[in-house]
C-alpha cells in the first residue's frame, strides 16, 4: 500500500504547503450567541497555561461579562484606530502582531470586513497573512457566513449577510463546532445574553426562530463533518493508504433493473481487476423507475448488492434521463471507462428516442464506452407489459372524466343559444386538460376522444350524427385531441418531478430527524436503541443491532424487542461483520436468512451490523430505499464514531489517573519494602563484624538477594507502566562498566571480570542509571550461569553504525531457538538441569530499560569458549563523536 505512485500529488501538495505554515482552527457556530468567542478564549487560555505564546489579535466581547472575564490574563494587541466616515473604528493591527510574532493569535469574527484603507479588505485575508508567517490562528465564524451556504441560509432566514468567508479557508482549518441546543440559545436571547445591534433587532428576532436555529445547527454540524472527511481523505490520499484511489483508470458500470445487468457488473469487475482500477456501479433513476414492479425493484437491489459485494462503490442518481445522469456521474467521479448493456428495446423505440449508447458516445467526451450485449428479453417484455398496465390508470379516472364531459355537454346545450358554436369547443378543453393533468396521458386521450365525439354529436351540424360537414370543425376535434396529448405529457412530467422532489425532501427530512435523534443519545445503549427505533420507523421494518463480541455477534438493541436470532441469521450477521458487506435476504450472500444485515462502517473499521426484516418475512428493502438506508447507516456510524471518541477522551483521563495512582503505589511500596530491608542488611553487616558466623553470612546474603528482587520487581513495574522517565546525559562506558562490575562483585565471586573496551570508545548519550541496571543484570546473570572459575568478559566494540557492549560467560549457553525468548518476563534458561536462583525478571528489565533508551539487546552463543553472549547495541544516533578535543583540554 505504500507504493509511492499511488499518492495523490494534489493532496500531498496540500499537506506539504501546510508544513511551516501556521495552523488555523475555526470555532464554528450556528448563530450568534452560541459562545464561540468564549470557547476560543478558554481554549487559548489553556494553550497559554501550557506554555504557548498566545496573544489576542482582536476580540469582540460585546460587553458580555463572562467573555470579558476571560480576557484577563491574555496579552491584548492594541487595535489600530481608523477614521471612517466620521466614526472612530478599531481594526486589528496585523503589523503589530507580525512584529510581536506569537505562536498563536486569537482573531475573533473571521468574516469581518475591514474599514476602508486597511491593508486587506477582509479579515480572513489578514488571517491568511498571519498563517503564512507561521503563526497559528484561532478564529470564529457563524455558519451563515460560509460562502457556499450563504444562499441556502438566506433562503430560509430571509436575511442575507454580506460578509462571507470562502470555503477554501474552512477547508484548510481544523473546525470545532460550538454547539448549544436551539432552546437554550433562545433562552439566552431572551435573557439578553446575545448581542444584537440595535438597528437589527426586528430582523434578527425572525432569524432566531427555533426552526431556523435547528436548520442552522444542522448545517454547522454537517459542514464540520465534511471538513473532517475532506481532511481525512487528504491524509489518506497523501499517504496512499488502503482505499485511496489510483490516479489512473476509474470504471463505471450502469445498472438497470434487468437480470442481465449482473453480467455487466461481472464484466466491469474483470475490467477493474485487469486495470487495477477502482470502480463504481450506478443506477440512474428516471421517471421510469417509479413504475417498477416489486420484482424489478428486487432485481435492481440484487444487482446493486452484487456490485457492492464485488468491491464497487454503488450509487443511485435521480436524473431526467439516463444519459444526463451518467454524464454527470462520469464528471463527478472522473470515470475513464463506462460499461453499459446493449439496449433490448426494439429498433423502432431506438429510432424514436435515440439509442442511449449513441447519445453517450456523442455527449461524453474522453471516456471509453464498453457496450455489452444484453440477454433475457422475456424478462423485459414482461416488465414492459406491467408498466403499460399501470399507465392505464383506474376505472374511476375514466368515470370522472366522462361525468365532466357530460356536465360540459349540458352546460354547452344551455349556452349554445348565447355564444358562437366554435367557443363551445373551448368548454371541452376543461375536462380534457383536467383528465390529462390529473389522471395521465391515457385518461386525457380518452377524454379528448369522448369530448370530440360529444361535440360532434351534440353541437356540430348535423347534430345527432357523427358526420362532419364543415372541414373547419375537423380542426376543432384535432385541437381537442392535441391539447389532451400535450397537456398530459407536461402534467405527467411535472408530476413525476414533483414525486421525485417530494421523495427526496422526505428523505432529507428523515435524515435530519434521524441525526437529531442520534445526537440526543447520551450513552452507547441509548444510541443503539435510537438507531433501531428510527430506522424501523423510517423504513417500516423490524430492526436489530449487533455488535461483535468474542462469542460472535451479540444482540444489543432491537425494535420490536427481540431476544434471539436463529443460527442462520447469526451466520449472516457474522459474515456481514467480517466482510464489511451486506448479507442476508436481499443481498447476494446467505439469502436464506429472513434478515438483511448491513455493516456499520467507520474510519476505525466495522462497529457492528444493523439487521432489517419485514413482519411478513418479505424482502426487507425496496431498491429505492437503499440510498436512504445507506445515508442512515452513515449517520449512525458517525454518531458511533463520535461517541467512541468521547469515550476515548474519558479513557485517556482515566488512564492518566491510573498512572498517577500506580506511581504513587510504587513509591510507597518501594519505601515500605526498602526501609525494613535497609535495617536488616545494615544490621546483618554490623553483626557479621561483631559476631561472624556462617548463619549470619547466610542471612546477610539472603537479605541482599531479597533486596535485589525488590529492586527488580520495582524496575519491572516501571518498565511495564511504560514511558520511563529518562535522564539522558553524556556517559563514559568505562564508568558504566566499572560501576556495574563493582556493584556485582558479590554475585561474581569466583569469576574474574575482564574489561575489554577499546580505549578511544566514544561517549554515548544514555541514562546512566538505567544503563547501570542493564549491566548489573547482565553481570548477575553471567555470575549465575558461568561455570565456576571461568572469567566473565565485558567487551565494547566500535562498529561502523554503532557501539556494542557485550557480556560473555563460559557456561551452558542459551538453548538454540530461545535466543529471543530469554528476554521475556519470567523466562529462565531451560535445557539445563541447573535451575539457578533468579526472579526471571533480570533480562526482561535489561530489554525494557535498553529499549526505553533507544538501544537494542540480543542474545547469542559464543563458540570458543562456549557460553552465552548478551549484547547491548547503541545506535550511531546516540554516540557523541567529533568532540573538539583541543578546546576541551
Amino acid at each position: 500500500m505504500s507504493d509511492p505512485d499511488r499518492r495523490d500529488p494534489e493532496a500531498f501538495l496540500r499537506q506539504a504547503t501546510q508544513e511551516g505554515r501556521g495552523r488555523l482552527k475555526i470555532f464554528l457556530g450556528a448563530a450568534p450567541g452560541v459562545g464561540k468567542t468564549y470557547e476560543m478564549l478558554t481554549d487559548g487560555m489553556q494553550r497559554l497555561n501550557s506554555g504557548v505564546d498566545v496573544v489576542v489579535g482582536v476580540v469582540e466581547t460585546h460587553g458580555r461579562k463572562e467573555t470579558e472575564a476571560l480576557l484577563v490574563g491574555h496579552e491584548l494587541i492594541q487595535r489600530r484606530s481608523v477614521h471612517h466616515m466620521g466614526h472612530q473604528l478599531g481594526e486589528m493591527d496585523i503589523d503589530a502582531i507580525l512584529e510581536r510574532r506569537p505562536q498563536l493569535a486569537l482573531v475573533d469574527e473571521l468574516a469581518h470586513t475591514n474599514a476602508a484603507g486597511s491593508r486587506h479588505p477582509k479579515r480572513y485575508q489578514d488571517v491568511e497573512e498571519l498563517l503564512d508567517a507561521g503563526i497559528d490562528v484561532y478564529s470564529t465564524v457563524n455558519i451563515q457566513h460560509v460562502e457556499s451556504l450563504n444562499d441556502v441560509v438566506a433562503s430560509f432566514t430571509r436575511i442575507r449577510v454580506r460578509e462571507t468567508v470562502p470555503d477554501s479557508i474552512l477547508e484548510m482549518a481544523e473546525i470545532q463546532v460550538v454547539d448549544i441546543p436551539p432552546d437554550e440559545l433562545i433562552e439566552r436571547l431572551k435573557d439578553g445574553k446575545v448581542y444584537i445591534p440595535q438597528e437589527a433587532t426586528r430582523a434578527l428576532s425572525h432569524f432566531f426562530s427555533k426552526s431556523n436555529l435547528t436548520a442552522l445547527r444542522e448545517m454547522a454540524l454537517r459542514r464540520a463533518a465534511q471538513a473532517v472527511d475532506a481532511q481525512m481523505l487528504d491524509y489518506v490520499r497523501a499517504h496512499a493508504l488502503a482505499g485511496s484511489f489510483a490516479a489512473g483508470e476509474r470504471i463505471l458500470v450502469a445498472i438497470n433493473e434487468l437480470p442481465s445487468a449482473q453480467g455487466l457488473v461481472r464484466a466491469a469487475k474483470r475490467l477493474a481487476d485487469a486495470l487495477k482500477a477502482p470502480w463504481s456501479a450506478v443506477h440512474i433513476e428516471t421517471q421510469r423507475s417509479l413504475a417498477f414492479s416489486q420484482d424489478e425493484r428486487e432485481q435492481l437491489a440484487d444487482n446493486m448488492a452484487l456490485a457492492s459485494r464485488l468491491g464497487a462503490t454503488t450509487a443511485t442518481i435521480p436524473a431526467p434521463s439516463v444519459t444526463d445522469g451518467l454524464r454527470h456521474y462520469v464528471e463527478d467521479a472522473r470515470a475513464t471507462q463506462i460499461v453499459i448493456g446493449k439496449s433490448v428495446r426494439s429498433w423502432w423505440f431506438e429510432k424514436r428516442h435515440g439509442s442511449i449508447v449513441d447519445r453517450l458516445v456523442r455527449e461524453i467526451g474522453d471516456v471509453a464506452v464498453h457496450v455489452l450485449p444484453g440477454e433475457d428479453s422475456t424478462q423485459s417484455k414482461k416488465a414492459g407489459g406491467q408498466s403499460l398496465a399501470q399507465g392505464w390508470g383506474k376505472p374511476a379516472d375514466y368515470l370522472w372524466s366522462s361525468l365532466m364531459i357530460v356536465a360540459m355537454t349540458v352546460i354547452g346545450r344551455v349556452l349554445v343559444e348565447v355564444i358562437a358554436l366554435g367557443n363551445i369547443a373551448l368548454l371541452y378543453l376543461i375536462p380534457v386538460m383536467f383528465a390529462a393533468a390529473t389522471f395521465g396521458l391515457r385518461a386525457g386521450l380518452f377524454s379528448g376522444l369522448l369530448s370530440s365525439l360529444a361535440y360532434n354529436f351534440f353541437f356540430l351540424p348535423p347534430t345527432g350524427t357523427l358526420t362532419v360537414n364543415n372541414p373547419e370543425n375537423v380542426i376543432s376535434i384535432l385541437v381537442l385531441l392535441g391539447v389532451a396529448v400535450v397537456t398530459s405529457q407536461f402534467a405527467a412530467r411535472v408530476r413525476a418531478q414533483a414525486n421525485l422532489a417530494q421523495s427526496s425532501a422526505r428523505q432529507n427530512a428523515a435524515l435530519a430527524g434521524f441525526s437529531r435523534q442520534l445526537t440526543a443519545s447520551a450513552s452507547r445503549e441509548e444510541l443503539m436503541q435510537a438507531i433501531c427505533a428510527e430506522v424501523s420507523r423510517l423504513l417500516s421494518v423490524r430492526t436489530v443491532l449487533l455488535l461483535p463480541s468474542r462469542d460472535g455477534p451479540q444482540l444489543r438493541a432491537a425494535l420490536p424487542p427481540e431476544d434471539r436470532l436463529d443460527q442462520i441469521e447469526k451466520a449472516a450477521a457474522q459474515w456481514a461483520m467480517d466482510n464489511e458487506q451486506p448479507a442476508g435476504r436481499g443481498s447476494s450472500t446467505l439469502t436464506a436468512s429472513d434478515w438483511l444485515f448491513h455493516p456499520l462502517r467507520t474510519t476505525r473499521g466495522v462497529l457492528g451490523v444493523l439487521g432489517l426484516a419485514r413482519e411478513d418475512a418479505g424482502q426487507p428493502l425496496r431498491s429505492d430505499q437503499i440510498p436512504l438506508l445507506m445515508s442512515l447507516l452513515d449517520q449512525a456510524s458517525i454518531a458511533f464514531d463520535r461517541m467512541a471518541l468521547e469515550e476515548e477522551m474519558l479513557d485517556a483521563r482515566q488512564i492518566g489517573e491510573r498512572d498517577r495512582l500506580r506511581s504513587a503505589l510504587l513509591s510507597s511500596v518501594s519505601h515500605d519494602l526498602r526501609t525494613p530491608l535497609t535495617t536488616i542488611i545494615s544490621g546483618m553487616q554490623e553483626l557479621q563484624r561483631q559476631h561472624p558466623s556462617e548463619l549470619v553470612t547466610a542471612v546477610y546474603a539472603e537479605a541482599q538477594r531479597l533486596n535485589r528482587f525488590v529492586a527488580n520487581l520495582l524496575d519491572m513495574a516501571r518498565v511495564e507502566a511504560g514511558a520511563l522517565p529518562l535522564k539522558v546525559e553524556p556517559t563514559d562506558l568505562f564508568d558504566a562498566v566499572a560501576g556495574a562490575v563493582h556493584d556485582t562483585r558479590q554475585s561474581l565471586q569466583g569469576h574474574e571480570v575482564q574489561v575489554d573496551i577499546l580505549p578511544d570508545i566514544p561517549l554515548v548519550r544514555v541514562d546512566p542509571t538505567l544503563l547501570h541496571h542493564c549491566l548489573i543484570n547482565l553481570l548477575d546473570n553471567a555470575g549465575r550461569y558461568a561455570d565456576p572459575g571461568t572469567p566473565v568478559i565485558v567487551r565494547g566494540r566500535r562498529l561502523p553504525d554503532g557501539i556494542t557492549l557485550s557480556v560473555l560467560d563460559e557456561g551452558p549457553g542459551i538453548p538454540t531457538g530461545s535466543e529471543a525468548r530469554v528476554f521475556d518476563t519470567f523466562t529462565r534458561l531451560e535445557g539445563s538441569d541447573r535451575v539457578k536462583h533468579g526472579t526471571g525478571l533480570g533480562l526482561a528489565i535489561v530489554k525494557g530499560f535498553a529499549e526505553a533508551m533507544g538501544l537494542t539487546v540480543s542474545a547469542s552463543n559464543n563458540q570458543a569458549p562456549f557460553g552465552a553472549c548478551f549484547t547491548i547495541t547503541i545506535p550511531q544516533s546516540l554516540i557523541i563523536s567529533q568532540l573538539p578535543h583541543e578546546d576541551i583540554l
Partner: protein
C-alpha cells in the same frame, strides 16, 4: 580527655536510627537523634552537632528544604542518607550545600568512612589541604604539582583544575556542576561530555589501569570522588549508586 564528636541522626525510622546509633557508638561518637524536621532543627540549635546525617523522606517536611536551613543555621557537616532511585534529589541536595551523600541500604563501615572523611575535611576546611595522596599519586595543591610513582606528570591546566577540585575535598563527592563551575568559570552552559573527556585523559595519565579506575571514582549521574590514602591505606568507597 578526648573530645567526642557529636553526630545528629535525622530519620523517621526508629530502627535505622538505632542501627546508625549502634555503629557510631562503636566508633566512639556521641549521637543525638531526631525523627522529624521540626525536632531536627531544634536539636541542631541546642546540640551543635559536628556532623548531621539527614534522611530526605521526612514526615513533616521535604528533607531537601532542610538542607539550606542546616547550612544557614549551623556549621554542621551535612551528609544525606537516602534511598537509591533519587539521583536528582541527591544532586539537588549537594548543589544546595550538602557535603556528601550515602545510599540506603548502606554498609555501616561505609557510613563510618564517610563520617571520618567529613570530619577530616571539617578540620582542614576549604583550601587547608596542601598535599593529597591517592594510590601512588601525590597531588601538591600549593605548588600545583602532580607526581606519579615519583615522576612528575604533566597535566593541562583544565585537567589540573578538575583534579584540584576533587583533591580539595578528598573522599567527598563533587557534583558535575561544582567541578564545571571551577573549570569553565563564567560559562553559562556546561557540557558534561567535556568533563567526561577530561576525566578520561586524567585517568589515562594517573590510573594504573584506566579501564578500572581506582583514583577518580564515578558517582552515577552525580559527580566524581577522589579516593585517597589515609595512613598508608586507601579508603575504599563503593562506586555507583545501587
Amino acid at each position: 580527655m578526648k573530645v567526642r564528636h557529636k553526630v545528629l541522626i535525622v530519620d523517621d525510622e526508629p530502627h535505622i536510627r538505632k542501627l546508625i546509633h549502634a555503629a557510631l557508638t562503636r566508633a566512639d561518637y556521641a549521637t543525638v537523634e531526631a525523627e522529624n524536621a521540626r525536632e531536627a532543627l531544634e536539636k541542631l540549635k541546642e546540640e551543635r552537632p559536628d556532623i548531621s546525617l539527614l534522611d530526605l523522606g521526612l514526615p513533616d517536611r521535604d528533607g531537601l528544604e532542610l538542607v539550606p536551613l542546616f547550612k544557614q543555621q549551623s556549621d554542621t557537616t551535612l551528609i544525606i542518607v537516602s534511598a537509591r532511585d533519587a539521583t536528582d534529589q541527591k544532586v539537588a541536595a549537594l548543589d544546595l550545600g550538602a557535603d556528601d551523600y550515602l545510599t540506603k541500604p548502606f554498609d555501616t563501615d561505609e557510613l563510618l568512612a564517610r563520617v571520618r572523611v567529613a570530619l577530616r575535611n571539617r578540620m582542614t576546611k576549604d583550601g587547608g589541604v596542601s598535599m593529597v595522596r591517592a594510590g601512588d599519586v601525590e597531588i601538591d595543591l600549593i605548588n600545583r604539582i602532580v607526581v606519579k610513582s615519583g615522576k612528575e606528570v604533566h597535566l593541562t591546566p583544565k585537567e589540573y583544575a578538575v583534579l584540584a577540585q576533587l583533591a580539595k575535598f578528598p573522599g567527598r563527592v563533587i557534583t558535575h556542576e561544582q567541578i564545571m563551575a571551577h573549570v569553565w568559570p563564567g560559562e553559562k552552559e556546561h557540557h558534561v561530555e567535556y568533563l567526561r573527556v577530561l576525566v578520561r585523559t586524567l585517568r589515562q595519565k594517573l590510573e594504573a589501569d584506566p579501564q578500572r579506575p581506582r583514583i577518580i571514582g564515578n558517582e552515577l549521574g552525580i559527580g566524581y570522588r577522589l579516593r585517597f590514602n589515609v595512613e598508608g591505606e586507601t579508603e575504599e568507597f563503593a562506586t555507583g549508586s545501587a
